[in-house]
């Protein structure tokens, strides 16, 4: 053994949020594996229950607790680890580590930080000191000034000259930063940023510079390698997380590449980093006098999103190696996990190109702009591998799962009159606007002038437009023409769309010509030596295969694709666990996925990994090549489920419930008939092809009603309508309404309890089930709801009815495998809202709170071997709470509704729901600075139901503020509050000023239902202004009545010190 450490504490990154996502599950899991390999005891703190790192098989002890100074200190006190690891938990872990260090907790308990010294981390995090450090080693940085006030920065901005870049210190993902071209813009951005951070940076803005990144690892013997370099397609000014990125760089000469490499290594050495570090450069594409002009933009002294990408792009297991390094290994003492024949001191050679594309979900945030810039807004990403850029970017665009068949498919791009504006101002659909411009004959040069994207990339896009135009013109498909279209990434579907044939017809035709993709290995050495890797991709840039088929032992397991709102790490957990469970049945797992942040795309999670599209075309290609037995579609969320019918029609066997039965549950008409035939209640609903019948239906059942398009386009939202006006508005918005795409309207039952039912059945018989209830009433999307296990709020009678219904449905649909039912209970009557015949978002949660691994049971059920489980009533309560990223979505209304908007989740345990809830919300960043609160309650019923809670707050010593009506109401109940003016009263200070000046530490804003539910005409109302100001000033906000009541009860019952520090093992 290499190390003196006996017990290591690892800090996780908590809930997934914008700027900090699944990549830290990947890196933390790898690190834990390494420590275990070395025989070191591991303790993990991470409240993110959906992660793989919080599995029984990984860390010895897991605490589902907030990664904050107080909780981590308590865990240290209890566990007494001798080592602490900060570099695998993102900015969350790093920030917490710095606090522990500064408060001398580490010193007090004799805990040593492994790897990069904390002093170096602190240096890289303080922009001013860091810039100074870089200058001292003769590395260029852009003119930059750290300031603490808006005024001070204004002077500096004048000195530097506009445009200037403004950034907040100590933030992740470039939060609260931006480019100001004028003084007015400067003031806006600077005051915003200063609300979040005590220090901002005003910097020279490097207009249209190239942005280049290097991933460096260093061992304690001062050996360094750059694992990968990457070039952002979008020029500087667009956050690297928001950019399309390629690896390796394409437009750098040998000199530029190696100078930047040398500088990266110099920086890393100067900081004494042990482990991984990321260095970002700006490079002038047109320097004066042929010189070499670069600036260092940022250094991250930890594993980052870019490292996860670099790792998956090259096959170099950065996190694994990083963990070995902090234990004291030299790079050349660590075996290359991919080749198994070489070691880890080398720089991967790629014989392919990788393209990363961010996935945005801006349409889910009403009110937010589609603009992108120096702050991160994307919620996930995909990585595509090809033998040329054209092939890779086309794959990547399809991997986003946004309903387009390739880059040239602009059918989902708004028909904007002024394309140029949308090219100049970067936005989430810019690539499609570029295509449109090229289609209209705009030159590459003028596009470059507008957007600063290097002509190299624009020329590649032009190739795609030109080739497509050729096909549109002559429409002939022979071996030659299909072959060259496939080589540059055109899908069968796209070719079919152009020549007027179906996807399947094109498939048959190209196969008849022998045009099929090759299977290549990612071997880290570009084929120079033979490698034993199972990491694969497919390309038309080949004429041979690197591997031979696995045959009938192989089973395809489809992953979830890019993380996005509604599909995240929880599906990766199920995918990975299912893949591992196949071993028991002597099967070989073949994972297909395209998300570099996942654990499922790690080299050691499957027998074969195809880093590939989750499209029908590609799944069929893999299935045919491998000669596999069957495919599993039910463990990766909705994306793989969506191709079930096509896969079935193509005669590929699906494990578990049949495609016909999946359709019977997913087709609302069929499902509704099924419920009727079984005498199971559902809210009244119907589908409509015209406005008139829709309005008359709503009239009959009574408002509110829930409207949704049956054919769910990306971003096509569900909405609640409280009156005819609302309904008309949303029907008109659903432009696609017609016979083929009717809208669904169902009666919405107010104040009903919503319940999650997760189960696994085998041949129609339920083998295991779990019931958990929502805190919020029905009407809040289940992904945004606070969920409690055990379902304390479900009465025995209702629970029994749910089990009965589930059994009936399992039988009727012949379910084998996972399913999830959402129930609603009102006045003791149980209704079915929805059913999915796939594993749900709550699978990892229910597995971890019950101790029954649902992923394993579902695989058992596929092979007819599932046992019947009876889960005893637990001695604890677990609460799962959502994590929102509203602060990143400028002007979005931070309110809960029928459409999901949370980006992640956490779950904590407690003796009571209140204890678990408090731990959970603290985990999502909730902290009460002082006992001051603003309370605004809309509606008489809300006021009455919340009155008791306000009393409790008062008794707890809270200083309360309220707007006019709430103030008067509370006064009548004998609670004194300070009245504050609403914005429209035009008095100063008003409620927004109160929030901005941080005079309150908590805002409880309860609108009337219709205000909450209804979406349009929102901006500008007082409720919106209050909520937005609260989020923008980083103050905790509660907008749901039930959640607010639970919160007050919880803080009434518990002080921070009362919350127990108990590990998962101690609860289960």
């Amino acid at each position: 053994m290499k190390t003196k450490f006996k017990k290591i504490l690892i800090l996780g990154s908590g809930a997934l949020k914008i700027g900090q996502a699944g990549e830290f599950d990947y890196s933390g899991s790898q690190a834990i594996k390494v420590f275990k390999e070395e025989g070191i005891k591991t303790v993990l703190i991470n409240p993110n229950i959906a992660t793989i790192q919080t599995s029984k098989e990984l860390a010895d002890t897991v605490y589902f607790l907030p990664v904050t100074l107080e909780f981590v200190t308590q865990v240290i006190k209890k566990e007494r680890p001798d080592g602490l690891v900060l570099s695998f938990g993102g900015q969350t872990a790093l920030n917490c580590g710095m606090e522990l260090f500064k408060k001398k907790i580490l010193q007090e308990y004799n805990v040593e930080v492994l790897g990069t010294p904390v002093s170096a981390i602190i240096l890289t995090e303080d922009r001013k000191k860091f810039a100074h450090h870089l200058q001292s080693i003769h590395v260029s940085t852009p003119a930059s000034f750290a300031v603490r006030t808006v005024e001070e920065g204004q002077k500096r901005a004048q000195e530097i000259g506009y445009p200037v870049m403004i950034r907040a210190g100590f933030s992740l993902g470039g939060q609260k930063s931006g480019v100001a071209f004028t003084e007015k813009e400067y003031k806006e951005i600077a005051s915003d940023a200063l609300a979040f951070s005590p220090q901002i940076l005003v910097e020279k803005y490097l207009h249209h510079f190239k942005e280049i990144e290097y991933e460096v690892v260093r061992d304690q013997y001062d050996n360094c390698v750059t694992v990968c370099n990457m070039e952002n397609m979008d020029p500087l000014g667009i956050h690297t997380g928001e950019s399309i990125v390629v690896a390796p760089s394409q437009t750098l000469t040998n000199y530029e590449y190696h100078e930047l490499r040398r500088l990266s290594i110099q920086i890393v050495r100067s900081l004494g980093i042990v482990g991984e570090c990321n260095v970002q450069f700006a490079l002038n594409p047109h320097p004066k006098k042929n010189s070499f002009e670069y600036y260092v933009i940022e250094v991250n002294a930890r594993l980052s999103r870019s490292s996860a990408l670099a790792s998956k792009a090259t096959g170099y297991p950065l996190a694994y190696v990083g963990a070995k390094l902090i234990l004291g290994y030299a790079l050349n003492e660590i075996q290359n996990q991919v080749t198994k024949t070489t070691q880890s001191y080398f720089e991967p050679a790629l014989d392919y190109i990788v393209v990363k594309i961010p996935r945005w979900d801006m349409d889910k945030f009403k009110g937010t702009t589609e603009k992108i810039g120096s702050a991160m807004k994307s919620v996930g990403e995909v990585m595509a591998i090809g033998r040329n850029f054209e092939e890779a970017i086309q794959k990547g665009i399809r991997m986003l799962d946004i309903g387009v068949s390739g880059v040239t498919d602009t059918s989902k791009t708004p028909a904007e009159l002024n394309i140029k504006t949308h090219i100049k101002q970067a936005n989430s659909k810019r690539i499609f606007f570029l295509i449109k411009a090229l289609q209209q004959g705009v030159s590459v040069h003028s596009l470059y002038k507008l957007c600063g994207i290097d002509p190299w990339f624009l020329d590649r896009l032009k190739v795609l437009v030109d080739e497509e135009n050729m096909l549109i013109k002559n429409k002939t498909l022979d071996k030659q023409s299909i072959g060259s279209l496939k080589k540059i990434g055109f899908s069968d579907k796209r070719i079919g769309e152009i020549v007027g044939k179906s996807e399947l017809e094109i498939r048959v035709l190209r196969k008849s010509f022998g045009v099929i993709p090759s299977i290549f290995q990612i071997d880290t050495l570009a084929g120079e030596v033979p490698a034993k890797t199972n990491y694969l991709y497919m390309t038309y840039g080949g004429s041979h295969n690197d591997v031979v088929p696995l045959g009938k032992k192989g089973i395809l397991v489809l992953g979830s694709g890019p993380y996005r709102i509604g599909s995240s790490v929880e599906f990766d957990w199920t995918c990975v666990n299912s893949s591992l469970a196949l071993k028991k049945y002597n099967k070989q797992s073949i994972i297909v996925n395209c998300n570099p942040e996942t654990v499922s795309t790690d080299y050691d999670m499957s027998d074969r990994l195809y880093f590939e599209e989750l499209s029908f075309e590609r799944v069929a290609d893999i299935y045919e090549f491998e000669g596999s037995e069957s495919v599993i579609l039910s463990v990766g969320g909705q994306t793989p489920n969506n191709i079930a019918q096509k896969v079935h029609a193509y005669n590929i066997p699906i494990l578990g419930t049949s495609a016909e039965d999946i359709d019977r549950a997913e087709d609302r008409n069929k499902f509704s008939q099924l419920l009727d035939s079984l005498d199971i209640k559902q809210p009244q609903w119907n589908s409509f092809e015209d406005m008139k019948s829709a309005l008359s239906f709503a009239q009959t059942v009574g408002y509110p009603v829930l409207i949704r398009p049956s054919y769910v386009l990306s971003g096509a939202a569900m909405n609640l309508c409280y009156n005819e006006q609302d309904l008309k508005h949303f029907i008109q918005k659903a432009t696609d309404i017609n016979k083929k795409h009717p809208v669904m309207i169902s009666k919405f039952i107010s104040n009903a309890r919503e319940v999650e039912f997760d189960g696994i059945a085998q041949k129609g018989e339920v083998k295991v089930h779990v019931i958990a209830n929502h805190i919020e009433h029905a009407g809040v999307h289940s992904g945004d709801a606070t969920i409690v296990y055990p379902a304390e709020r479900v009465r025995y009678h209702s629970g029994a009815r749910m089990i009965e219904i589930a059994s009936q449905l399992a039988k009727a649909l012949h379910i084998t495998g996972p399913f999830n039912i959402q129930f609603m209970v009102k006045d003791n009557i149980v209704y079915v809202i929805e059913m999915n015949l796939r594993s749900s978002r709550t699978f990892p949660f229910v597995s971890k709170v019950t101790g029954v691994n649902f992923a394993e049971v579902l695989v058992d059920s596929f092979f007819g071997k599932a046992k019947t489980y009876t889960i005893p009533y637990p001695k604890f309560v677990a609460v799962k709470a959502p994590q929102f990223s509203f602060s990143r979505m400028e002007s979005a209304d931070p309110v809960l509704r029928v459409e999901m908007s949370s980006t992640g989740e956490v779950a904590c345990f407690g003796d009571t729901a209140e204890e678990a809830y408090l731990k959970s919300i603290i985990s999502t960043g909730f902290s009460l600075r002082e006992k001051t609160a603003l309370i605004t309650v809309g509606g008489e019923e809300n006021k009455l139901r919340f009155a008791e809670s306000v009393w409790r707050l008062k008794n707890l010593g809270f200083k309360l503020f309220a707007t006019q009506n709430t103030h008067l109401f509370l006064k009548s109940k004998g609670v004194k509050t300070t009245r504050v003016a609403k914005v429209y009263e035009k008095k100063n200070p008003n409620v927004v000023d109160l929030i901005k000046s941080h005079k309150v530490s908590l805002v409880i804003n309860l609108s009337e239902d219709y205000q909450n539910g209804s979406l349009y005409k929102k901006e500008g109302t007082d409720g919106y202004l209050i909520r937005r100001a609260t989020i923008d000033n980083n103050i905790p906000l509660i907008t749901d009545l039930n959640a607010a009541r639970l919160f007050v009860k919880a803080i009434d019952k518990y002080e921070l010190e009362d919350l127990q520090i108990k590990s998962w093992n101690e609860y289960l």
């Binding site: 040998n254 042929n290 050349n332």
Partner: protein, 343 residues
């Protein structure tokens, strides 16, 4: 236009031409370098070889001016890439790769599965190939020719004005070796590979034996000259071919590697330490028997083969990799400093 890459075993692969449509024969080689094609193409070590680049996208930044080349012209006999980019984008680009190849009469083919070619060379060793455009030509084995003689300078030339004098024996030297020496302020006397400068009375403080193409044993005259230098105990530094020549001149031996080293990512460790370097390499032969009086200096971290030798007591040393980089990482440029300090 289409051309064909024909292997001596009968394998024929069709490709689209983007260079001169001149049929040519040679030996096939590959490099896994991801950038630096102008440097590679002008590297005299590739003389007589048809180079396959494993990185699939080539031509992206065009062709820079002469100052960054490694010699005055393209040295490879032919070029094979997966995708050729005809729309270069770089402020230093003066022409496209295709224009350059055509102007220097070098054939080049776009063959999408270059990975197949790399694996074939890896498994079967460097074999004879030809690129044909319609006409039939014969295979030619460049190893039977004295390639060093073809690429070496013809005349003695003095470069720089430093105090110390270094004789550079040019077996096909890369320009960046010259640049690295000039940077360190020495006077370079560049001599042909077979020039017995001692006989000619040229005085010097040290000798650098350069890189070069082909089989070291073909450079018999250089080996003889090096023997004299060693006898006179003049400080000597050998690079690549120079490394093999030093070994042969001092009683060591070379052998053919199972898998050659061809790229910019070759890890070498300094013997007796934990220090490692990433290096550029391009060789299929390595030192087997360490010459008497010498000890291993560097070894390859991947396959453990020798990457350099150093004399136990005398100022003789050589490395198999390229400390001058170009293309490649500059990790080992300190070797030039060490050489200068020995003068």
């Amino acid at each position: 236009m289409k051309g064909h890459l024909i292997f001596s075993d009968g394998t024929i692969i069709e490709g689209a031409s983007f260079g001169a449509e001149t049929s040519i024969a040679g030996e096939i080689a590959f490099s896994t370098s991801m950038m630096g094609y102008p440097e590679s193409l002008t590297d005299p070590s590739y003389k007589g070889q048809i180079l396959t680049l494993s990185y699939p996208i080539v031509g992206s930044y065009g062709v820079p001016k002469r100052e960054t080349w490694e010699s005055g012209k393209i040295q490879v006999s032919g070029l094979i890439v997966s995708q050729y980019i005809d729309t270069p984008s770089h402020f230093q680009s003066s022409m496209s790769l295709s224009q350059w190849l055509k102007s220097e009469h070098i054939p080049a083919l776009e063959i999408s599965d270059t990975r197949f070619i790399v694996k074939k060379i890896r498994d079967e060793g460097a074999t004879l190939v030809k690129i044909e455009f319609g006409e039939k030509i014969d295979f030619i084995d460049p190893n039977k020719e004295n390639l060093v003689a073809q690429v070496s300078t013809q005349k003695i030339e003095t470069i720089g004005k430093g105090k110390k004098k270094v004789v550079l024996i040019d077996c096909g030297v890369k320009d960046n070796i010259v640049r690295e020496l000039v940077k360190r302020n020495v006077t370079i006397i560049r001599v042909p590979w077979d020039c017995d400068f001692i006989e000619e009375g040229i005085q010097c403080d040290g000798v650098l034996v350069s890189n070069g193409p082909g089989d070291p044993k073909m450079a018999d005259k250089t080996i003889e000259i090096v023997k004299k230098i060693l006898a006179l105990k003049i400080p000597l530094f050998g690079i690549c071919l120079g490394n093999q020549i030093l070994a042969l001149a001092s009683g060591g031996d070379t052998y053919k590697l199972a898998f050659g080293h061809r790229g910019q990512n070759q890890p070498c460790s300094l013997v007796g330490s934990k220090t490692c370097y990433i290096t550029t390499q391009n060789h299929g032969f390595a030192i087997g028997k360490i010459p008497p009086g010498f000890k291993p200096w560097f070894i390859n971290c991947n396959d453990g083969t020798n990457e350099g030798i150093i004399h136990k007591t005398l100022p003789f040393m050589s490395v198999q990799f390229h400390p001058e980089a170009a293309p490649g990482p500059v990790d080992t440029s300190w070797l030039f400093d060490q050489f200068i300090s020995m003068l």
